[in-house]
């Protein structure tokens, strides 16, 4: 059984870590933009803000399974193939990016307006406020948001099998659902549970350690 579980676990880690990274690269700047372009914020741009909100809402509306197929051309362009474990990273990243944007937005909005006002009163520029004030002040909450993203991606990655990807979720579906090999299904689900618990634990701890508030 271990010879089935371990490669699948590695595939899950591979898909989830890379798609977390890429969804952060796309979603984090979007989250920052959502916050700073809002009315009354440091870079007020109402039109851009509305546009971003619209795009993010549309992307979040797609059922993941449909999005996976819709992004085939993009996968082809980026990784050269449309199916397989690596190809799954593309739709996973694209699906998670708007989610990340929203999570980051709500974390950054927790930063007290007074602190932003103080930074402005000190003559700080917009990049200085973003990197030296907003992000460090929101860090504990951002860590929890990233934890949530990772766990969400573990869930999404279970659907990777639909386009030929591997991973634990796929293993559980293939063996448990299609072949009625319940023991393998139970084992893979158990490993997923451990993974989720472990990540949540680490995320919570990290957030508490960095939080000085």
């Amino acid at each position: 059984m271990a010879e089935l579980i371990i490669p699948s676990l590695l595939e899950t880690i591979y898909m989830v870590s890379l798609s977390t990274l890429f969804s952060l690269i796309i979603g984090f700047p979007l989250g920052v933009l959502l916050v700073i372009t809002e009315k009354g914020n440091i870079w007020e741009r109402p039109l851009l803000n509305q546009l971003l909100n619209g795009i993010i809402n549309i992307l979040r509306s797609f059922p993941f399974i449909i999005l996976m197929i819709l992004v085939f051309p993009i996968s082809k362009l980026i990784v050269g193939q449309t199916i397989g474990t690596t190809a799954t990273i593309v739709p996973l990243s694209i699906a998670a990016a708007p989610f990340v944007a929203r999570i980051m937005e709500s974390s950054l909005k927790e930063v007290d307006k007074g602190i932003i006002e103080f930074s402005l009163s000190m003559g700080a520029s917009i990049p200085e406020i973003i990197f030296k004030v907003l992000i460090p002040e929101a860090l504990p909450s951002l860590i929890l948001g990233i934890t949530m993203t990772i766990i969400n991606l573990i869930g999404y990655s279970a659907m990777a099998g639909a386009i030929g990807g591997g991973g634990l979720g796929n293993l559980a579906i293939r063996y448990g659902l299609y072949r009625f090999e319940t023991d393998i299904m139970i084992a893979s689900v158990f490993v997923i549970i451990l993974l989720v618990q472990g990540i949540q634990f680490i995320g919570n701890r990290l957030s508490t350690i960095v939080n000085k508030k």
């Binding site: 007290d112 007074g114 602190i115 006002e117 000190m122 002040e137 000085k212």
Partner: protein, 334 residues
């Protein structure tokens, strides 16, 4: 130092326009502690925020040392903000950074070398008497200590102006006193001009040189603190002064209930120290009954009032009142 000319600020909402400031003109002198007092919603916070343009004025001009702040572009504005420190009611410290890092923040924005930042922060910590809290986080500090950190941080760039937006409003009376003492020291030793926004008359009384009273976006009275206490003109000014003394003289003393002549003496500074009433009693054949009195210790002097009932021969009373007037106290027959 700071000149504000015909400053107005309006906030537009869907169906109406609210004027937070209407045609405000002010001239604040170098090295002075200038108080702006008003009830909440009077426009005082908007006014102080216009000085460093955290709030953009709708019309009017602001000059600081001859430079028209209201005409600066964004970049020059940021530069000029570095000459103005600001402290807030809720301190606005960076919660995730140590005391040291908080004070170093404006210096890091200036990209000063690490060694110089170190030296400057240590000097500032010593100045606000918090050297032992260097590595503490804001959540570990009391309100007074937080405001001291905020003051040190506001002073980091050696500003010429310090803006205090209700800087003592969240503190208890004892801590308020110590913060006010610190601000007064900053004015004296560092020659910083301080603008204090407050709704507390104690703040005005304790450290301000001059004061403007703001109501519905307009300055309704402006004077030296001594003069304001001696001779308040508007009812708002009077109620601010009486807020210092819980018993309201006007409510208590009804001239109709007394047989004699009621007079109200207002005295200021030197005249408060002389036994004028005693001299009057010895000199004229009248009786004096003290009904009410009070003295307020202002920063540099004292101001107070006394309400007396004078009984006796009408002519003697008139002469006594003339005598008082000659002694540099203002006399008002109630």
């Amino acid at each position: 130092m700071i000149k504000i000319e015909n400053l107005s600020k309006s906030f537009k909402s869907v169906n109406n326009t609210i004027w937070a400031l209407k045609d405000v003109s002010l001239h604040i002198k170098k090295g002075e502690i200038f108080g702006i007092i008003g009830l909440s919603g009077a426009g005082k916070s908007t006014l102080i925020r216009c000085i460093n343009r955290l709030e953009e004025p709708t019309s009017g001009k602001i000059f600081i040392e001859g430079v028209e702040i209201t005409a600066l572009d964004k970049k020059s504005l940021r530069q000029s903000r570095k000459n103005m420190g600001m402290i807030f009611q809720h301190f606005n410290l960076l919660q995730q950074k140590t005391v040291y890092k908080n004070i170093a923040f404006p210096l890091e924005l200036e990209r000063l070398p690490k060694k110089e930042i170190d030296r400057r922060v240590d000097t500032l910590l010593e100045y606000v008497e918090l050297s032992d809290k260097r590595d503490a986080y804001p959540s570990q500090l009391s309100g007074g200590q937080k405001q001291r950190v905020a003051i040190a941080r506001a002073l980091a760039n050696n500003p010429k102006i310090l803006l205090s937006d209700e800087g003592t409003s969240a503190l208890d009376p004892k801590t308020t006193k110590s913060i006010l003492e610190l601000l007064n020291r900053i004015r004296k030793e560092l020659n910083v001009t301080i603008i204090m926004i407050t709704h507390q008359m104690e703040v005005i009384k304790d450290i301000c040189d001059r004061v403007a009273i703001i109501e519905n976006g307009k300055i309704i009275e402006m004077n030296t603190v001594e003069e304001l206490f001696k001779n308040p003109k508007t009812s708002t000014a009077k109620s601010f002064i009486s807020s210092l003394n819980p018993i309201d003289e006007n409510g208590l003393i009804d001239p109709k209930k007394f047989k004699g002549t009621l007079i109200r003496l207002s005295y200021l500074g030197e005249s408060a120290k002389q036994p004028i009433v005693s001299h009057m009693v010895k000199k004229f054949d009248i009786d004096v009954n003290i009904l009410s009195g009070n003295i307020n210790q202002l920063m540099s002097t004292s101001a107070g009032y006394l309400i007396l009932e004078l009984t006796g021969n009408a002519q003697e009373i008139n002469q006594a009142i003339e005598f008082l007037k000659s002694k540099d106290v203002s006399v008002e027959v109630i």
